[in-house]
């Protein structure tokens, strides 16, 4: 974060904007590759994005990026203008995706403060060659079928969507219906003239009939129905009126401002009509598609990007507000007052608003998983293409929200798991056919909310895990100590999460080095989650990652040790009770243990660990809290339990550094700072001792 802040604001903006554009572009390409056709809107979008990238890269003097973007732009300019029939869509997608990868890579270098020194000329050459190829191909087909080229020419006359910027406050859409003076002749030329004049003052001009110059029938149409123009401009209504009325032979003018939806409908209708005139058979379909596109454009949410640091600061401030509210509401000076009815009413209202505000701030930090999930489309596409497997990814529950800090830790694990599923799990199409499975394999990527946790489930319908092979490999690598008979299926499957484990014989480009699952396990543990593996031979593997909703707030138990207060995370507390003196066992080394229902737990006195003089020294006087995690359970001796509280987790100041047994700190309701106990660390310390 610090590094990016010190960067030139221009460069930072460049990186941020272009990465977003590339992400958007990649999604668009992937979504349309399957349909094997590129609609006008998509072509326009690609063209526009490449144009923007070219412009900004040229401005920042990144020539390799801008020349590549320029080449792609050229290619799509040709496709947009001439609609060549002979196009290999998958080849085009490959070209664009390669280009995206190159630019992303270069931008990655810039982010790391390196020079963007990549050479894009092979890509550019490749694209130019391909462009030549399709030019030749379409030139041939044009000769054979000249008539087919005409609709393409007509389409050119649409002045839509090259700049589909949403209207801002001053810019309004207008609808003008113009009737020319009867008998003035050449209505179509006059109309064209009008449009031409308008172009200087307005954009997104659309008009009906659209083919005014080419089609002589349009004269008739204009005479009967008038000439309709829709456009957006910043000019006032009077100014436009004046502009139109300056033209000769205009009989009447009906000018009005249009609402957004109305504009879309109108545009749709306009297109519909034209297409109907040309080729009635395809119109319905196409119109629906156009309608869908227009719709998606208008419902796009308006977003702004905010620095996470600012959000953190906002959350701190709200936390402070909560504390100061408590200080006001329970001020000791109020004790002497007698009549406080109105005061209490006001503070209740006050508290309610603050609570809502706190929830809102928390929700701002929550980000849907959809971006992370959709990135996986690319992984699946590339891998299935390379490995010649037919894999389809099904995404469920992508709208599930997770804290921003956690999402950063999720991308890598999900990618590893999906790679593993496709590389190891899913069989080749031939094998699937012989097993009677559908040739198209499926990988499910699912997210759901359950209680305070989010579950991310990656499921494939491949071969499943081979229990014997895993066991064999685990023993060979010395990862498994227990005898076979004592192992549950879950335990066996979980060994694939250990470092240095891979059953794949060969190391492929995608997986097999035995680091993947280890990374998954480590990343998920870092955010306080867990990984569960389940598998049915022949039917597939399910890997479930359980992660907390947020790291920023935990449920904690306040415990008192001497004069100090500590927070124990509720999730790690198993039980608490007062110990009977006869259940305490002391071994010859002086280590204390406690028998609870036939099981023996080591006792860790918190006051000893944290060197607190003022605490209770007798185990029987204090409270025993049994805490547990994956690696075991221990008893903690504390003076008293003070109650449960949600606390905002804050990192310890850098100056203090890492302290054994303490994970972070927080603020109590009275404004005091307070330490959060690192249970996992204490358990390890107790075991070592």
């Amino acid at each position: 974060m610090d590094k990016s802040l010190s960067k030139e604001p221009m460069l930072e903006m460049f990186i941020f904007e272009n990465l977003q554009l590339l992400e958007q572009l990649e999604q668009t390409i992937l979504a349309h590759e399957k349909e094997r056709c590129l609609e006008n809107a998509v072509i326009n979008e690609i063209f526009r994005i490449m144009h923007t990238i070219k412009g900004s890269a040229a401005m920042m003097m990144y020539d390799s990026i801008s020349s590549l973007a320029h080449a792609i732009e050229d290619l799509f300019f040709y496709i947009r203008e001439f609609h060549p029939d002979e196009m290999d869509y998958s080849k085009i997608c490959d070209i664009v995706l390669d280009g995206i990868d190159f630019i992303k890579n270069e931008i990655g270098k810039l982010e790391e403060d390196q020079e963007a020194d990549g050479d894009s000329s092979p890509f550019v050459e490749n694209i130019e060659q391909y462009l030549l190829l399709i030019k030749e191909a379409s030139a041939n087909s044009n000769l054979i079928n000249e008539a087919a080229a005409r609709p393409a020419g007509l389409q050119k006359k649409f002045y839509i969507s090259t700049s589909k910027s949403p209207p801002t406050e001053n810019i309004k859409r207008y609808h003008a219906l113009i009737y020319f003076t009867p008998g003035c002749e050449m209505e179509n030329i006059r109309a064209f003239n009008l449009v031409h004049k308008l172009k200087d003052q307005a954009d997104q001009i659309d008009y009906l009939p659209a083919d005014i110059i080419e089609n002589n029938d349009s004269v008739e149409f204009i005479r009967e129905n008038g000439f309709a123009v829709i456009f957006t401009t910043h000019l006032q209504q009077e100014a436009i009126n004046e502009l139109f009325m300056k033209e000769a032979f205009i009989d009447s003018l009906d000018l009005r401002v249009m609402e957004d939806e109305e504009w879309e409908i109108e545009q749709l209708r306009a297109r519909n009509q034209i297409i109907l005139e040309e080729e009635p058979s395809v119109s319905n379909n196409e119109v629906r598609e156009i309608g869908a596109n227009l719709h998606s454009g208008s419902t796009r949410q308006s977003l702004i990007s905010v620095n996470v640091d600012k959000l953190d600061r906002l959350m701190d401030m709200v936390g402070e507000l909560v504390i100061s509210e408590t200080m006001v509401a329970f001020n000791p000076d109020l004790m002497t007052a007698t009549k406080l009815e109105n005061f209490h009413k006001a503070t209740r209202q006050h508290r309610k608003i603050i609570n809502e505000m706190q929830d809102l701030v928390m929700s701002i930090r929550m980000v849907p998983l959809s971006m992370t999930f959709r990135k996986m489309n690319r992984v699946v596409r590339d891998m299935s293409k390379k490995l010649k497997k037919n894999v389809e990814m099904v995404i469920i529950g992508e709208e599930t929200e997770v804290d921003k800090n956690i999402i950063e830790h999720l991308s890598d694990p999900i990618m590893h798991l999906i790679r593993n599923a496709i590389d190891h799990g899913i069989e080749s199409p031939e094998k699937r056919a012989s097993l009677g499975k559908s040739p198209a394999a499926r990988v499910y990527l699912e997210a759901k909310n359950e209680g305070g946790d989010v579950y991310i489930i990656i499921r494939d319908d491949g071969a499943g895990l081979n229990k014997d092979k895993i066991l064999e490999r685990a023993r060979a690598r010395g990862l498994m100590q227990k005898p076979d008979s004592n192992l549950s299926d879950g335990e066996i499957y979980s060994t694939i999460l250990l470092p240095g484990f891979s059953t794949c014989e060969e190391i492929s480009e995608f997986s097999g080095r035995g680091v993947g699952m280890d990374v998954v396990h480590k990343n998920i543990e870092e955010v306080g989650g867990a990984v569960l593996v389940d598998s049915t031979p022949g039917q597939g593997t399910t890997i479930t990652m359980k992660i907390p909703l947020t790291l920023a707030i935990i449920n904690g138990m306040r415990v008192k040790v001497g004069n100090s207060i500590y927070i124990l995370p509720i999730t790690s507390i198993k039980e608490s009770f007062k110990a009977k003196p006869d259940n305490i066992i002391v071994d010859p080394d002086g280590n204390e243990m406690l028998m609870v229902r036939g099981e023996c737990y080591p006792v860790l006195r918190l006051h000893q660990k944290f060197r607190i003089e003022s605490a209770l020294k007798e185990i029987a006087e204090g409270i025993i809290v049994i805490v547990q995690n994956d690696s075991g359970s221990i008893c903690l001796l504390v003076d008293a339990l003070l109650g449960e509280q949600q606390v905002v987790v804050k990192a310890l100041p850098k100056f203090i550094g890492k302290i054994a047994g303490i994970s972070a700190c927080t603020l109590l309701a009275d404004g005091r700072a307070c330490l959060i106990i690192d249970v996992a660390n204490l358990i390890i310390l107790a075991k070592v001792k």
Partner: protein
């Protein structure tokens, strides 16, 4: 744009240049450059103790939602601990984005000392706290010891001790 900013920064630095906040630790009067000081907290608030840290790190406090460590300058200079009273203050200094509170016995005033009046500390390693002194400022007949904040916060004092021995 950036030039104007630079100028503003320069100007700000100019107004702060040569100004020192002076305070008492024991009998000596110390000064620190005003540009490091972000605020002064009068009186001692509740300090949360932290285990396994050097004795001079008294713990952490809550400064309007920000948690900052505080150190006792008396203990930092290996002097005897003094009881805190209502004259005790916490000076919050900010160095390289690291905020630390310094517990001092008494905050005196802000004074200007010209560069010419600051002399380097004598090159004898007799006094143990010489390590933390950047210079000695003279104001009339009085002498203020100017603290080197960077060294005050460095955790390398052990190495320094080795060097001295």
């Amino acid at each position: 744009m950036s030039e104007i900013l630079d100028e503003a920064v320069l100007q700000e630095e100019d107004t702060q240049k040569g100004k020192f906040l002076t305070f008492l630790v024991g009998k000596e009067e110390y000064g620190i450059e005003i540009k490091y000081v972000t605020e002064i907290i009068g009186g001692i608030q509740a300090i949360t103790e932290i285990p396994d840290v050097p004795e001079y790190v008294k713990g952490i406090i809550n400064l309007r939602g920000k948690i900052i460590p505080v150190m006792d300058v008396n203990l930092r200079f290996n002097k005897e601990a003094r009881d805190y009273n209502d004259r005790t203050c916490i000076i919050v200094i900010d160095i390289d984005e690291l905020s630390v509170g310094l517990i001092v016995d008494n905050v005196a005033e802000v004074i200007s000392i010209a560069d010419a009046d600051i002399v380097p500390p004598p090159d004898v390693r007799s006094g143990f706290h010489n390590r933390y002194i950047k210079g000695i400022g003279k104001i009339g007949s009085e002498v203020k010891l100017i603290l080197d904040c960077q060294r005050l916060l460095s955790t390398e004092e052990l190495e320094n001790l080795d060097y001295i021995n």
